[in-house]
Assembly symmetry: C2
Homo-oligomer: 453 residues x 2
């Protein structure tokens, strides 16, 4: 094993000078250079084959299952790459679908796989000849959910989103008194989570305007997206135990983009007193490639709070770790209308923001969630809540951007939107960059609204 | 197949005159006479054997997997019981663990299994000799979760509970305007659901009294139970489709008791604006035997609403079916303190109620839940919400019985309670009885509070 920088988690795999023998991985702006190496679950389209684990490199997928079956990770070239028995058994977990077993294996296994794949895929690797036959173009594969998700929890970790939305729903009390103390979250629906490419009919629900005497059932007229990150959980805790904050830092496996589609009119009528339900449960879209926490190590930044914000309770206190407790992940939401698609125009950017603005860290979410003894499990998914930045134009939803539907957003060629229309596709994107390090990205998280049934 | 009474679902299996060759099933007050036949998942304690499906009869479990392996459901005696190929294949699903496949098979399969088991287990059955070796005492088995639960949803279907609790949390608006229109529900935590016998440490959480300047983390001081029913879902719906109310009536597989343990102090501080989270996610206990909707058919009663309650929206309108849309299931909550246990005293009864008071029917819950296109899946679990009756003494939680902790409940021998203390066990029980039909029960749903860790 190479020297590990315990404080930063940065090692030879993050070297910005590394290039891959997969040429597309070296192109400027590519989301999946050799410094990224995200994990996913895929199968080749049109073939009757099972789901398997793969790693994105450039515009290709390395078929880990096929490579292992062919013995590519054993023998002298593998030994020359430093792939030992531990790394080989961890690679076998990463080759299986779903990835719950790999997520359960923990940080030492994740790091062993990352190092092995970095050495195997970098230019000059002795494994190029053995692995090249097991590359499949991403354009030729179907992606699946990375894990069997036992539970999905959605947090609410942007104080900017909470304040803006709170003002729309509760003008007299925009930010509730608990917000700055409690990492607010709620349980979400697992069965309607799908990967990028999800298409769903506009949901129907009970709608009631302020002046209506009674509700009616109709398709939502205030359908929205929410720009979030998702976090896949690694090793969990036994029921009744809590995960301490120090321990929580090594428990997250990796991150994806997450679109928490929301029907604002259904939500407004149903959400009191037990929270959002049918306003959210019709669809949730995630990007299919899980960018590991190891890949994200170079983009850690200080977790800071505004003057006057309270000191977190001890079980949530990042202490000295706050210097690297946040992650600077640049976020972007784009809208592709049916007309843009017909005219072959690119999606229009709605907003940009960064995950660095989150009021709570990933480790705090894990520590809080398990603090009552609730058992977390490998493959559990957390949403971060809508990641709106401090400025109005950094908002992560149409509800915020259109001031609750009062001010339409202007799109190219004279189109406007307050909320989503049938045929609209929302594309979320994210990437990290920092001087001295490579740029890595998350791939697209795309979903499309179909007419109501 | 015998004549089916389409309107009532009552057939020969409900004949009150039936007796079983399993003697304990014929004892007065037995929860599991031959008219019940609930399904569960079990394994024999102390043996290294896998989970398997079984049926409760008297104080025994019929080991369906062992009986099938031994060929007990084929051959002339089985044919004499009317067990055909369809029934045999459905029995194989009921013998597997978890029961998701059987739940997915649908009402025709459930009825075929019920009829086969009724004929096989009734007195004089030609299958007695073949099945007797495959009975295992319930006292000798460990029960497991009946299904792999994909999603758990908790409804809020008692208007009496909602009104009483609402008054404690929101004196100015006890029953919110949406309550009588929307079957309010929220997503719950799956990973902390366990069957009767669950023991868990008192949860820690953020607590903040009205006079406190800031919250602190401490063990909950207002730990409570909630007396609910649980519903296991049968065949579900594809994403984007809704299940119409008429169709929903055949989609529930069966029911259990459910204790939705609740930390009232954690809940009060955390629940705004997204609903209960850590106040509930530390533990949920269900009774292990799933009483099928077929077994419950004789106990259907009119679903009625109070004068002035609004007519449900069309997608929730029971119409002519309201005459049998509710279920009269007698409910009981008991408390066994550590002292009662030491002195071998029976648990003290806290309250009795009935599921017939529920404001929403099981079919309405299914129709509402899927009305936005949310995919429901076999094995999904719904909680009904606390089933408090209209009278104060019929309340299904200590929060209600103690008037928010202000008026202690008196127990035998001078013990009192406002909320649960360490060592307290709560036992929920339920049964159905009606003139002309057998009495059937649900078995115990027991859980115990351990000291905080």
């Amino acid at each position: 094993m190479p020297e590990q920088h315990a404080a930063t988690g940065i090692d030879e795999t993050h070297d910005a000078g590394l290039r891959s023998w997969v040429a597309s991985a070296n192109q400027a702006g590519c989301d999946f250079p050799v410094q990224n190496l995200p994990h996913g679950v895929f199968r080749r389209g049109g073939r009757q084959e099972g789901w398997r684990g793969g790693v994105a490199i450039g515009d290709q997928v390395l078929d880990l299952a096929a490579a292992l079956d062919a013995g590519a990770f054993s023998g002298p070239p593998a030994t020359a790459c430093g792939i030992d028995a531990h790394a080989a058994s961890a690679l076998a977990l990463a080759a299986a679908a779903p990835l719950n077993g790999f997520m359960a294996a923990g940080q030492a296994s994740w790091r062993a796989v990352r190092l092995a794949l970095s050495r195997a895929l970098r230019a000059g690797s002795p494994l190029e000849a053995a692995l090249a036959p097991h590359l499949v173009p991403q354009a030729a594969v179907e992606m699946g959910l990375p894990a069997t998700i036992g539970d999905y929890t959605d947090f609410y970790a942007s104080v900017h989103h909470a304040t803006t939305v709170g003002a729309l729903f509760r003008p007299d009390a925009p930010l509730l008194p608990n917000y700055k103390w409690v990492p607010i979250g709620y349980h979400g629906r697992v069965s309607s989570i799908a990967v990028s490419g999800q298409r769903f009919p506009r949901p129907r629900g009970q709608l009631k305007g302020p002046a209506d005497a009674a509700p009616r059932q109709a398709p939502s007229a205030r359908l929205d997206y929410e720009l979030e990150m998702g976090i896949f959980m690694g090793p969990g805790n036994a029921s009744g135990d809590a995960i301490a904050l120090d321990d929580a830092r090594s428990r997250a496996f990796g991150m994806v983009l997450l679109n928490d589609w929301s029907a604002r009119d259904i939500q407004a009528w149903e959400y009191q007193p037990l929270g959002p339900f049918l306003a959210k449960s019709f669809a949730t879209t995630i990007s299919p490639w899980v960018v590991t926490m190891e890949a994200l190590a170079p983009y850690r930044v200080e977790w800071s709070r505004a003057a006057g914000d309270p000191q977190p309770l001890p079980y949530l206190d990042e202490g000295d770790a706050r210097a690297t407790a946040a992650l600077d992940i640049a976020l972007e939401a784009c809208l592709e209308t049916a007309r843009m698609r017909e005219r072959n125009q690119p999606p229009a950017r709605l907003s940009v923001s960064s995950f660095k603005h989150a009021y709570w860290t990933v480790a705090q979410m894990i520590a809080h969630h398990s603090s009552n003894g609730c058992p977390l499990q490998p493959g559990d998914l957390f949403g971060t809540g809508t990641q709106s930045g401090p400025a109005h134009e950094e908002a992560g939803s149409l509800l915020e951007l259109s001031l609750g539907g009062k001010q339409p957003i202007e799109l190219p060629d004279g189109e406007t939107r307050t909320f989503l229309e049938d045929g609209d596709a929302v594309v979320l994107r994210a990437h990290c960059e920092r001087a001295g390090f490579a740029r890595i990205g998350f791939g697209d998280c795309r979903g499309e609204v179909l007419p109501a049934r």
